[in-house]
């Protein structure tokens, strides 16, 4: 069962990264998410939002929409933007067999996001935007049913 969805819209500006994290943390807490799993998903959200602002909009004008909800034991957060197409799920994985000195530092945010989530799903929307959904098992089984109704209260 799916909970109601909490939504935040912010300008694509790095100064709002803390606000995005705070919004997600508060919403996940209301859904009774496990704290460690919630923090994993929060970092992935932060990394992806930062990439959209810096590499997507390239620090220009734009908006990011953040939606948070849960489905059963899964906590989901979706980032939507109108920046040029970019699918982070197709970004190359850093070659961890390379000596450390030779690894690129770029791409660490996506690498961390993959590491911290169960799944990342990208979709190019009909109106030319990007939609990235990050998923993590984060709702304890005994509270998932209650959490799915949390938005109703």
């Amino acid at each position: 069962m799916k909970s109601s969805t909490a939504t935040l819209r912010v300008a694509a500006d790095l100064k709002y990264l803390a606000a995005i994290r705070h919004f997600f943390e508060q919403t996940a807490a209301a859904l009774r998410a496990d704290k460690e799993a919630m923090l994993d998903l929060m970092q992935a959200l932060d990394e992806c939002a930062c990439n959209i602002i810096v590499h997507g909009y390239q620090d220009g004008l734009g908006e990011i929409r953040v939606e948070v909800w849960c489905e059963g034991e899964r906590l989901l957060v979706r980032l939507s933007d109108q920046a040029p197409p970019f699918d982070p799920t197709q970004a190359p994985t850093p070659d961890t067999t390379l000596p450390l000195d030779m690894r690129p530092m770029g791409g660490m945010g996506i690498h961390l996001s993959r590491h911290l989530t169960d799944a990342m799903i990208y979709r190019r929307t009909g109106n030319g935007g990007n939609e990235l959904t990050l998923i993590k098992t984060a709702i304890p089984p005994q509270t998932s049913e209650e959490a799915n109704h949390a938005g109703d209260r």
């Binding site: 990264l17 970092q43 450390l100 660490m108 945010g109 690498h111």
Partner: protein
């Protein structure tokens, strides 16, 4: 995020940068700017106190990389150029560079350091006296 600077002395002068708050994409350049400021004033041994830094994103890794290069007296290059800037950074026999060390990274920050391989470059301490004592004259 705020950075408070303390100048302490052990075997050598050590500049402690105490980071308060989250280190993310919005403020990592503030940490680099502070490191640039103290290095321009002559600091060569830096201890980053992470006791009060609950969160660090990958942007913070770029800041750590840059601080280590600045402590060598050089200007950091673009992060896209990779970790090669560490090649010539003075290191001890364990492969860790010796001029910038970390104090008390919180569990989640430590995990980010480990996941990205960044922890291999830094000596990490949990108490200030031991950290200060570890800096030696080169």
């Amino acid at each position: 995020m705020q950075v408070i600077v303390d100048k302490l002395h052990s075997h050598v002068p050590v500049t402690v940068l105490r980071i308060h708050g989250d280190l993310d994409g919005s403020n990592y350049q503030d940490l680099i700017a502070k490191a640039r400021e103290v290095c321009a004033a002559g600091a060569r041994h830096l201890l980053l106190d992470m006791s009060n830094m609950p969160y660090m994103s990958s942007a913070g890794l770029v800041a750590l990389h840059s601080v280590a290069v600045l402590a060598r007296g050089e200007e950091p290059s673009s992060p896209e150029h990779g970790w090669a800037a560490f090649h010539a950074v003075s290191r001890d026999s364990s492969g860790k560079q010796t001029r910038v060390k970390l104090l008390n990274p919180q569990p989640r920050v430590d995990r980010t350091l480990q996941t990205t391989g960044m922890r291999e470059f830094f000596e990490v301490f949990t108490d200030l006296p031991t950290a200060l004592d570890s800096f030696k004259a080169e």
